[in-house]
């Protein structure tokens, strides 16, 4: 690990205007410390924010929930309100990582974790995300875990978070604090970027901008299901995951939210599929059609070609489960 200066702060006001520059904020460290060991992240300073008073979950306005950025993945997944009202989020969190990591990993850190693309980690191989302009090794290489939607010539990496997929489906919002103290809100859906010409930029955060927390608005009605397909039944990243909130009334789709994980550089809100389903009969044929509409632009790179039919089938199966359980619930 490269040497760095360590500074622990106890209030956000201690963040200077020049911060963090080449510095990084450190919270749980489960991804950042690992990347520093690999010398993929080489900050000259770490600002340890782990003792800021941002680790609480509080009831907000209009039946929302305000989640501090330092709330651990375990605490968020275990919160009785989250389990009751936002079960999609609890399920997504629990499907990720291990108990040891979830005990340490934070809400903000989970959002800002970096891709697990093999070539991003392999410093002996070109990677545009690590060294812009170097080239992408994944396009012609091992790309079983890579993206099928929203890729660019420069990067086909995926965002690895499960939690973020649920937050996008739930239309959660971030509260952010810029280095100059200005605060703003940002939908989680707009946090992550597609790679385009700048795959080195994972998010739209400005330098020094800090995630203070996440606001979970009251969810829309309907059944919430998170379904994750992976190579092992535990402790594996998603090949494809899908978060669905489906409300069926009288056999028709009254409202629906869909987000995919494991298919793109960001959690993928499936708005085309949602539009195709709205006010339509909740039938297998319509689920199929919606999945096909969403995946019409999907492309594989060889070893990840299987993800296109996998994403289609996973979405159809999840919609089917959600529709069936809604009927059971109202029967």
């Amino acid at each position: 690990m490269k040497p760095f200066e360590y500074r622990r702060i106890h209030g956000v006001e201690e963040i200077g205007k020049g911060d963090p520059g080449q510095a990084r904020y450190l919270a749980g460290g489960t991804n950042l410390i690992d990347l520093m060991k690999h010398e993929i992240e080489v900050p000259d300073r770490l600002l340890d924010i782990s003792r800021l008073k941002l680790a609480t979950i509080e009831n907000g306005e209009k039946d929302s929930l305000r989640v501090g950025t330092l709330v651990t993945n375990t605490s968020l997944a275990s919160d009785a309100r989250v389990r009751q009202t936002w079960p999609l989020l609890s399920a997504a969190l629990l499907s990720g990582a291990t108990a040891q990591l979830r005990n340490r990993a934070t809400t903000g850190g989970n959002l800002l974790q970096r891709t697990r693309c093999y070539y991003f980690y392999d410093t002996a191989r070109p990677c545009n995300k690590r060294n812009p302009g170097e080239g992408c090794s994944a396009r012609e290489g091992q790309n079983r875990i890579h993206a099928i939607l929203g890729t660019s010539d420069h990067c086909i990496a995926t965002h690895p978070s499960d939690m973020a997929v649920a937050m996008v489906a739930l239309e959660a919002r971030l509260t952010l604090r810029a280095a100059d103290g200005m605060e703003r809100e940002l939908p989680v859906e707009e946090l992550h970027r597609l790679p385009g010409d700048h795959p080195e930029q994972d998010t739209v955060l400005k330098p020094g901008e800090l995630i203070l927390g996440v606001i979970l608005p009251a969810p829309p009605p309907g059944r919430q299901i998170y379904r994750k397909v992976r190579d092992r039944s535990s402790y594996a990243f998603a090949l494809v995951s899908v978060g669905v909130i489906l409300h069926v009334v009288g056999g028709k789709v009254e409202s629906v939210r869909i987000a995919f994980g494991g298919v793109a550089h960001k959690p993928w809100r499936a708005r085309k599929a949602e539009a195709a389903l709205l006010q339509k009969e909740a039938t297998e044929a319509n689920f199929q059609h919606a999945a096909e509409v969403e995946l019409a632009d999907a492309r594989g790179y060889g070893s990840n070609d299987f993800k296109i039919p996998l994403a289609r089938r996973t979405l159809v199966a999840t919609l089917r489960d959600a529709a069936n359980s809604v009927e059971e619930a109202s029967a």
């Binding site: 770490l46 375990t74 389990r83 629990l94 108990a99």
Partner: protein, 173 residues
Amino acid sequence: MANLYVNGKQVTLDDDPRTTLLDTLRAWPALTGTKKGCDHGQCGACTVLLDGRRVNSCLILAIQCEGSEVTTIEGLGQGEQLHPVQRAFVKHDGFQCGYCTPGQICSAVGMLEEVRNGEPSDVTGRGQASLSRAEIQERMSGNLCRCGAYVNIVDAILDTDAPNSLKKEGAAT
């Protein structure tokens, strides 16, 4: 100088902020029970209890733990007087080479507390967590065993006769 507390004893940290909690434990109090496996948070051999919660000590800077209480495998038993989870591992042969065992046992101790607290896992669903085989397998997935002693590890945890064990609550079948 910054201090933390390991198994109740004060430990002074070295002044290099790069030093992980794992390397601190193994070097200064020379508590080598905590093992370095992958050093990247993937194997669980370095699992210790930090303020009562199981964590991967390889992914934590020691300086972040200033003032915290750390419990390692050496702090669970009292010499020949083994912790109930240790006794259960011996009884059920929950190991072969033993390298992953300190992490497995610390992880199991933390895991039993998490179940007791009602914290759900990926297999719990919306109800109350119980200590079934499926729950143990899911909850212990962060501890790899290259010898493949998993079946006996699950048996040992199911049979743990720890005080306030979940078995008494009839959760295990």
